[in-house]
């Protein structure tokens, strides 16, 4: 048998002892105040957008999807309000990701990890799950007492636990449900889901999202931020001395004393700190840390400790913001008797804003001016060139025409290359000689087989560049593609 020795029984040399510490469960206490209100507001906004955006309609004309935001995988289209993206335009998402990354840098240089504290999905859903837990099981002390209770199997307690997990699962399930609605017409899919006629993949994704939401927000909580997420590590490298972080102003707080003793000492004219060691900041912290220990990797900068401390300061009649968004420079300056300085505009923030503006501007520009008519040409490989019975040379091409607009188009194809060459499209009788015309239905691609024939005498060179012009007869819009005309 495997004999296990309690690590505590071992010699407590610094080199020994367990390399792994079990998680200490965090019981954040409810709090009210400015930052809590901001958090509620942002939570309502984020969840509102996430849950209800699929139901927003957008008229794109007959036959086109009327969902404002839709990722139409079967037809390879992405709709975002007035924007419709095709698969070859995924680089817009690359641009969006770059902007998002730089926006994170910008947020970080202004307010530290405000993303983590207010907007990160992990924070938003964990906060929601905590709210449910608090509503059912009570606040910090009650929850701690109930968890510690030696008789946990009372009917009342069981029903509480069952209710809590049911609501959690319901939220998680709705989260997964909202996710799949982005991939299909929402009202139709909802109807299919409740009548069990939706595609299997929809149920699979709902299952996956339900499980991850339930586990990450219900169980893993702050461990996701501390152990799974790389952002705390990255942001440490991005931050500088001007970034505003949730900071305990130790210059004002130390030394810590009780309220009564502080009053006595103040009456004697002695210097004492404002911190009364009430541990409210620790009690409300969702990652279970003590902000008074200085900046820490676990801190998600949610500002709840600021609210908790402010409430206490108000009660004991001391100025607010013993804990607040601040930086080390200002603590230094205050200790030296100088006025604090807040600098949001500095080289770093200017550069980040400029990058965001440049990439964003470029994206908007290309999006606004992008061509809704496109042509791709692929030269036949086997054979690359064909000699005809009268000695003339023919090259065949596969031409793909893209009509990204919302209307059918009549287009004409011209080829400029070898002298006196003629153009023919299989299946099309040219009305105008050597200028085949075809109709491309809206929002679709057409693949044509195109033959270019050059008379025998015009092909001295082995390879001649050939330019294909595709012209919209009605609007005059032109798309071009180049290839080569090869002689055997």
């Amino acid at each position: 048998m495997n004999k296990t020795v309690n690590p505590k029984d071992l010699t407590s040399d610094d080199d020994y002892g367990p390399l792994y510490a079990a998680r200490k469960k965090v019981y954040p206490q409810s709090v009210s105040g400015t930052f809590r209100r901001i958090k509620w507001g942002l939570m309502a906004f984020c969840l509102g957008v996430y849950y209800f955006l699929p139901f927003v309609r957008w008229n794109r004309g007959l036959g086109a999807p009327n969902q404002a935001v839709l990722i139409d995988l079967p037809n390879s289209r992405f709709y975002f309000f007035f924007i419709e993206l095709w698969p070859q335009e995924v680089y817009y998402f690359t641009g969006l990701l770059i902007v998002a990354a730089v926006a994170l840098f910008l947020m970080n240089s202004i307010g530290g990890r405000i993303w983590c504290g207010y907007l990160c999905p992990q924070t938003v859903w964990t906060d929601l799950f905590y709210a449910v837990e608090r509503l059912i099981e009570g606040d910090r002390r009650e929850r701690m007492k109930k968890d510690k209770s030696s008789d946990p199997m009372k009917l009342e307690r069981i029903s509480e636990i069952v209710l809590k997990h049911s609501i959690w699962l319901l939220i998680a399930w709705w989260t997964g449900g909202a996710w799949v609605l982005y991939f299909n017409d929402a009202p139709t899919l909802v109807k299919e889901l409740v009548t069990f006629q939706a595609p299997m993949i929809a149920y699979v994704w709902i299952g996956i999202l339900t499980a991850t939401t339930y586990l990450l927000a219900g169980y893993m909580r702050e461990q996701v931020c501390t152990y799974m997420c790389p952002w705390p590590r990255i942001q440490a490298a991005l931050t500088d001395e001007w970034a505003l972080n949730v900071t305990y102003r130790y210059d004002r707080g130390e030394k810590r004393t009780s309220v009564k003793k502080a009053a006595e000492l103040r009456a004697l004219g002695e210097q004492v700190g404002d911190c009364v060691d009430c541990y409210q900041c620790v009690a409300v912290c969702p990652t279970g840390i003590d902000i008074r220990n200085g900046p820490q990797m676990e801190c998600i900068q949610c500002g709840l400790c600021i609210d908790a401390c402010d409430n206490v300061m108000t009660k004991i009649g001391r100025p607010k913001r013993l804990i607040g968004y601040d930086n080390d420079i200002n603590i230094q300056r205050r200790q030296e008797g100088k006025a604090p300085v807040y600098r949001i505009v500095r080289a770093r923030t200017i550069v980040y804003s400029a990058i965001i503006a440049a990439i964003g501007g470029f994206m908007i520009y290309t999006l606004a001016t992008r061509s809704l008519l496109d042509v791709n040409v692929l030269h036949d490989r086997n054979p690359v060139a064909v000699k005809l019975s009268d000695g003339s040379i023919r090259n065949a091409y596969t031409v793909r025409l893209l009509n990204k607009s919302g209307y059918d188009r009549v287009i004409a194809i011209d080829a400029h290359g070898p002298a006196n060459a003629t153009v023919h499209v299989i299946g099309v009788d040219s009305v105008t000689p050597d200028r085949p015309m075809i109709v491309i239905p809206r929002d679709s691609t057409s693949e044509l087989r195109l033959l270019v024939t050059a008379p025998a005498d015009s092909n001295q060179e082995k390879s001649i560049p050939v330019r294909f012009h595709v012209t919209d007869i009605g609007l005059g819009e032109v798309a071009t593609a180049t290839d080569n005309f090869v002689s055997p």
């Binding site: 690590p7 086997n382 064909v386 005809l388 019975s389």
Partner: protein
């Protein structure tokens, strides 16, 4: 026996007593759930042997208790696929060849279907893009021995050439030399005459009048006046720039003395009518036929 009395200080677990360069191996047995799962898979595999075909025998195999067969599964899936494609292939089968080329949707379907079937059945001789080779016609050009209209192409695919099918294309290039109809110098003369018809350079001192006479007596019956060819017989046009077996003197002498009779199999019965139609449209679209 391994010595379990040695306790690792960091984890508090016993070690196996094995040590390498001061690194000791912890005694960490497999978790019970893992071991139980392992035994369950063994039990499961025994059931598998019984239920499904598993053991190879000398000339067959055990069939399992339910007679399961993966081949039957594939047949069912193929059947389902046919059913899914049914409507579209039916439309292809119902439409006339000319209509298929005029309808972009049907043309796309016929080209896609034709291309895969061509790759499976025709590419070994005609090349993956129909470029052909010596003795195997290039399907991208405008020279068609048996006619290059949609209907003519379909007929050739359906019944083949010298394939043995009742409706096959017949006709062959006779072996004038082997059969003793023409003598060696006559063959050289007529070969040079044929080259002159196509505008190719001829041998020095070649007697054009003699060549014309030999041609008129032996070749005109099939290749026609002036060597313009005859599609009824599959006789090639000798005045154009396309030569199935080569236009140089040596190749022509070989053709005239040995004869030619290439074979194209008949595809009727091997491919269904709609597929043959798709293939005809595909081949026609390669070079636009004639």
């Amino acid at each position: 026996m391994t010595d379990h009395s040695d306790i690792d200080a960091v984890t508090g677990k016993s070690t196996t007593g094995h040590e390498w360069d001061g690194i000791k191996e912890l005694n960490t047995p497999l978790p019970r759930w893992w071991v139980i799962s392992f035994y369950l898979t063994i039990i499961w595999s025994i059931g598998y042997w019984i239920v499904y075909p598993a053991w190879p025998l000398i000339s067959s195999n055990t069939t399992g208790v339910f007679g399961y067969s993966s081949r039957a599964d594939v047949a069912v899936e193929l059947g389902n696929l046919e059913k899914i494609r049914g409507d579209k292939m039916m439309a292809l089968g119902a439409a006339s060849l000319a209509d298929i080329e005029k309808d972009p949707a049907l043309l796309a379907l016929a080209r896609a279907k034709g291309k895969t079937v061509f790759g499976d059945n025709c590419a070994p001789c005609h090349g993956s893009g129909g470029a052909g080779a010596k003795g195997y016609p290039n399907l991208n050009d405008d020279d068609w021995l048996w006619g290059g209209s949609l209907d003519q192409i379909m007929q050739t695919i359906q019944y083949g050439v010298r394939s043995g099918h009742a409706k096959t294309h017949e006709g062959q290039m006779l072996a004038f030399g082997k059969d003793g109809v023409l003598k060696g110098d006559e063959i050289v003369t007529v070969a040079n005459y044929v080259r002159s018809l196509a505008g190719l350079p001829t041998r020095k001192g070649f007697d054009a009048a003699k060549g014309e006479k030999i041609f008129a007596e032996n070749c005109v019956a099939c290749h026609g006046d002036g060597g313009k060819g005859n599609r009824e017989l599959g006789a090639p046009d000798l005045t154009d720039k396309i030569w199935l077996y080569g236009s140089d003197e040596a190749s022509l002498i070989e053709t005239i003395s040995q004869g030619r009779a290439g074979v194209m199999p008949a595809w009727e019965g091997r491919l269904d009518p709609a597929t043959i139609k798709a293939m005809a449209v595909y081949v026609h679209s390669l070079g636009g036929g004639k």
